[in-house]
C-alpha cells in the first residue's frame, strides 16, 4: 500500500507543477502593477467574469437538465434521436460558434445587411441583438457547454431507481412534482459535477470573450502576462482565480452534507417511458430541439456553406497531416488520462487518507487553469530541466542534449494532462462512488485480489464511465487551442490551430473546413457516449 501511495503522491505532485508555479508567484508581491490594475480594470474583470459565470451557469443548467429529463422519461416525436443528438454541440469549439454567429448576425453580416437593404433602415433605426457582447458570450458558451450537464444529468436520471419515483407518485406528486422533489435532488451530485466543469471551462475561455470584446479575469491575465509583460502579476491573478474555483468546489461539496446517494433500492424495473399527448409532445420537441438547433445545426450549416466554397483548395496532403496530428494527440492523451485517473481513484478508494484526498483534488484543479497559463507553467520547469541536464552533460561529458522535452510532443501531452485529468478523474470517481464498498468486501471474502476485483466486477459496471471519460478527454484535446499554440513543436499543427489562425485572419470560409473536421471527428465519440449511457441502466440490456 505504501508503494501505491508514494506513486500516487509522485504523480499528483508532477501534475501539480504548473499549479505550484502559479501559487509560487504569490511570494513575490508586485504592488505597482496591482495598484494599476485595481485603479483601472480589476473591477471590470471581476464583474464581467461573475456575470459570465452566473449567466452561463444558469442557462447551461436550464438547457442541460430539462431536456435530459424529458428525453429520459417521455416518448415524443424524435425523442429517440434527440437522446444522442443533444450532445452534438459538445463537438463544436466555443470560438468556432462565436465566429460563425458573428459572421452571420453581426452588423456587417448577411442577416442585418439584408434587413437594412429591404427596409432601408439605418443602423440606428432598428434594434438588433448585439452578438459580440457579454450577453452574446453567455449565449455562445451556454450553447456549447450545456452538453456536459446534459450528459451527466441524463446518466443520473437513467440510473435512478424507478421505485423511488413511483413512491413519490403514490404520495401525490405529479410528473413535475416527482421531478422537482425526487429525481432532481437525487441527480444533484452528477449535475453539480457537470456544473463544475462548465464553470471551469467558462473561466478558462479566452477565444470567445476576447473576440467579443468582453474583458474578463482571464483576458486580464493574458493582458497582464503578455501585454504588460508582468509574469508574476499574471501568475498571481491566476492564483486568485484558482482560489475562487477551489472555494466554489468546496462549498458545493459541503452543501451535500449528510445525504447519501447510494441507491436505497436495488430493484430496477425497466424504465417505462410515458408517451406524451400530441400537444405536450410538440412542446417537448421544441424545448429539446432548440439547443440542438442553435448549438449545432445552425453553426454547422453555416460552416458547411462556407466549406463548400473552399474545400477544394484546403484539402490536401497538408490537411491530412493536420488531421493525423490532432487524432494522435487526442488518442494518446485520453488513454493516459483514463489510466492515471483509474489509478488515482482506486488509490483514494482503498486508502481514504486526507493526504490522498488532497492529492486528487490538487490534480483536478488543473482544469480551472486557463490553457495559456498551464502552457507557460509547464514550459518553465521542463525547459529548466532540459537546460540543467544539458549543462550537466556539457560540463561533465561535453555533449549537449539540447531540448529533450520542451518543444516535443511530450510536453504538449503533459500540458493536456494537467488540464484534462480533472475530467477523467471526476467521471471515474463518480462511477466508483456508485459501487458500494460492500461489493469489494464480498469479493475479497472469496479471495479475489484487488486487481481481479477491478477487472471482473468493477470494469463491467464502469465500462460506460470509462468510455465516457476517455471520449470526453478526446474531444477536449481535439478542441484545445491556447496550450497547443504555445507549446507545439516545429512544423506541427493541429486542426484547432489551423482553424484559429484562419478565423483570426477573418478567413472564415477557409477556416470552415478544419473546423468541420474537428466537429465531425468529435461527433463519433459523442454518439458512442450517449449509446453507452442508455444501455448502462442496471437491469437493462
Amino acid at each position: 500500500m505504501t508503494r501505491w501511495n508514494s506513486l500516487l503522491v509522485f504523480i499528483s505532485l508532477l501534475f501539480s507543477i504548473p499549479l505550484a508555479i502559479v501559487f509560487g508567484s504569490l511570494f513575490f508581491p508586485e504592488y505597482e502593477v496591482w495598484e494599476h490594475l485595481r485603479a483601472t480594470v480589476l473591477i471590470d474583470y471581476i464583474g464581467n467574469s461573475f456575470a459570465l459565470l452566473i449567466g452561463v451557469g444558469f442557462f447551461s443548467l436550464l438547457i442541460g437538465v430539462i431536456p435530459a429529463w424529458l428525453v429520459t422519461m417521455y416518448r415524443f416525436p424524435l425523442s429517440r434521436q434527440l437522446e444522442w443528438a443533444l450532445l452534438l454541440p459538445m463537438s463544436v469549439p466555443a470560438y468556432i460558434i462565436a465566429y460563425t454567429y458573428t459572421g452571420a448576425l453581426d452588423v456587417a453580416g448577411p442577416l442585418q445587411v439584408t434587413l437594412r437593404e429591404i427596409t432601408g433602415w439605418q443602423y440606428r433605426d432598428y434594434w438588433f441583438p448585439e452578438v459580440r457582447s457579454l450577453g452574446g458570450a453567455i449565449a455562445m458558451l451556454s450553447l456549447v457547454l450545456y452538453p456536459y450537464i446534459y450528459l451527466l444529468a441524463r446518466a443520473a436520471f437513467i440510473e435512478q431507481s424507478v421505485c423511488v419515483l413511483e413512491v413519490s407518485r403514490t404520495l401525490g406528486c405529479n410528473a413535475f412534482g416527482g421531478f422537482r422533489r425526487v429525481a432532481l435532488p437525487l441527480a444533484r451530485p452528477a449535475i453539480m459535477v457537470g456544473l463544475s466543469l462548465v464553470v471551469m471551462e467558462t473561466l478558462a475561455d479566452y477565444g470567445t470573450v476576447q473576440y467579443f470584446g468582453v474583458s474578463t479575469f482571464t483576458t486580464g491575465i493574458f493582458r497582464t502576462w503578455f501585454g504588460l509583460g508582468n509574469s508574476l502579476a499574471a501568475a498571481q491573478m491566476s492564483a486568485l482565480l484558482l482560489v475562487f474555483v477551489a472555494v466554489f468546489l468546496y462549498l458545493e461539496k459541503r452543501s451535500r452534507k449528510q445525504a447519501r446517494y447510494h441507491h436505497t433500492s436495488s430493484r430496477y424495473s425497466s424504465l417505462m417511458q410515458q408517451r406524451l399527448t400530441k400537444g405536450h409532445g410538440v412542446i417537448a420537441l421544441i424545448i429539446c430541439a432548440a439547443p440542438l438547433s442553435f448549438g449545432f445545426i445552425v453553426p454547422v450549416s453555416l460552416l458547411i456553406n462556407w466549406a463548400i466554397d473552399t474545400y477544394l483548395d484546403v484539402l490536401g496532403k497538408d490537411f491530412y497531416l493536420l488531421f493525423f496530428n490532432s487524432l494522435f494527440l487526442a488518442f494518446i492523451t485520453s488513454m493516459l488520462a483514463v489510466g492515471i485517473a483509474l489509478f488515482m481513484a482506486y488509490s483514494n478508494r482503498n486508502n481514504q487518507s486526507l493526504l490522498n484526498k488532497i492529492m486528487v483534488r490538487l490534480v483536478s484543479m488543473g482544469y480551472a487553469i486557463p490553457g495559456t497559463v498551464i502552457a507557460v507553467g509547464v514550459l518553465i520547469p521542463f525547459a529548466w530541466f532540459d537546460n540543467s541536464l544539458d549543462n550537466f552533460l556539457i560540463e561533465n561529458f561535453n555533449i549537449s542534449s539540447g531540448l529533450l522535452i520542451s518543444g516535443t510532443v511530450f510536453i504538449l501531452v503533459f500540458a493536456y494532462l494537467v488540464r484534462f485529468l480533472a475530467v477523467s478523474i471526476n467521471t471515474i470517481e463518480a462511477a466508483l462512488v456508485k459501487i458500494k464498498p460492500v461489493m469489494d468486501e464480498v469479493a475479497k471474502t472469496t479471495g479475489m485480489h484487488t486487481i481481479n476485483i477491478l477487472r471482473s466486477i468493477h470494469m463491467p459496471m464502469m465500462r460506460g464511465s470509462l468510455l465516457t471519460a476517455s471520449l470526453l478527454v478526446f474531444v477536449d484535446v481535439l478542441k484545445e487551442l491556447p496550450a497547443t499554440l504555445i507549446l507545439r513543436p516545429f512544423n506541427f499543427n493541429t486542426l484547432a490551430v489551423r482553424t484559429y489562425e484562419l478565423a483570426n485572419e477573418e478567413l472564415l470560409a477557409e477556416a470552415a473546413v478544419p473546423a468541420l473536421a474537428i466537429v465531425i471527428v468529435g461527433i463519433i465519440p459523442v454518439i458512442i457516449i450517449s449509446n453507452s449511457i442508455s444501455r448502462s441502466r442496471p437491469g437493462h440490456g
Partner: protein, 335 residues
Amino acid sequence: MIKYIHLLIFLFTLQSANAAEVNIYSARKEALIKPLLDQFSKETGIAVNIVTGKADTLLKRLEAENRNTPADILLTVDVARLVRAKEKALFQQIDSKLLNQVIPKNYRDDDKQWFGLSLRSRVIIYAPDRVDKNDLSSYMDLANEKWINRICVRSSSNVYNQSLVAAMIANYGLLKVERWGRGLVSNFARPPKGGDRDQIKAIAAGVCDVGLVNNYYLAGMLESSQKSDVVAAKKIRLFWPDQSTHGVHMNVSGAGILKSAKNKKEAIQLLEFLVGDFAQQWYADTNYEYSINSKLENSSVLKSWGKFKADELNLDLLGQHNIDALMLMDRVGWK
C-alpha cells in the same frame, strides 16, 4: 506497444541533421509568408521550419528555452515586440552590409539587433457620405467632441494600437496623450471589438463614421474574393493624418536573429532574402504593405492612395513606451 509509441513520438520530433535549415518563431501567420519561404528554400536549398504564434507567447517560450532554443529567427508584425526581445537580450548583433544598405536607418535597430522588413501605416478611415474630409486633420483631433459616438477602433490589447499610442507619447508626452485618450474613448460608437477589418465593415454598415486601421487591411478588402468585403471597403476612404506636422504613424514587421541561433549563416541569408526585390515585391503585391526599400514600386491600390508624409520617429521609442501606452489605455478606459 509502449515501445512503438516511443518510436513514433521520437520520429515526430526528429530533425534531420544533415540538410541545411533555418528555424523561425514567427508572429506572422504562416499563410502570409509561406510562399516566400518556399521560394527561399527553392533558391537556396535551405529548409525552413516554422512555428507561429503570438509574439508575446513566442517571447515567453524563447525566454524559457534559453540557450537551447531551436529557433534562429524571431519574426514579428510590429516593432514593439522586437524592442522587447532586444531588452531581454535575446538578439545578437548582425553585421550585414546589405541589410544596412536597403533598410532606412529609422526602421532598423541602432545596435544592429533587429531589422524592419516591411512597412505599414496606421491611418484614419472614414465614410465619405457622412464625413467631410476637411473635418479630419490629425490623430489628436479625434478626441474632439465633434466625433462623439462616431469612432470605431479595435481593442487596446492589439499591438498596433499600443504602438500608435506609444508614438504619440513620444511625440506629445504622457499628460497630453492621456487627455487625448479620455476624449477618444468617449467618442467610441461601441466598445472595441473585432479586428481592423471589423472596423471597416462597421463603418460601412453605419455603426460609426471614422476609424483607425492598418492600411493593408483596407487594401486587402478592396481586392478580396469575398464580394461583401469589396462592397464594404468601397464605401470607405483613407485619410493621411498629421501631414502638416509629424506625419503618419509608421510601423514595421521585422525580425532579429537570436543569440543562441545555431544556423546563423542561413538566418542571415534568409533576412537578406526577405529584403531582396522578390520578397519586397511580394510583400507589396500580396500583402499590400509598403516595401522597406523606398525605391521599389508599390502595388496599384497603394499607389491610388497617393504619396504621404511618414513620421520619422525612431521606432525604438515605440518599444520603449509600449508599457506606458498600455497602462495609459487602461487608465482612460480603452478596453
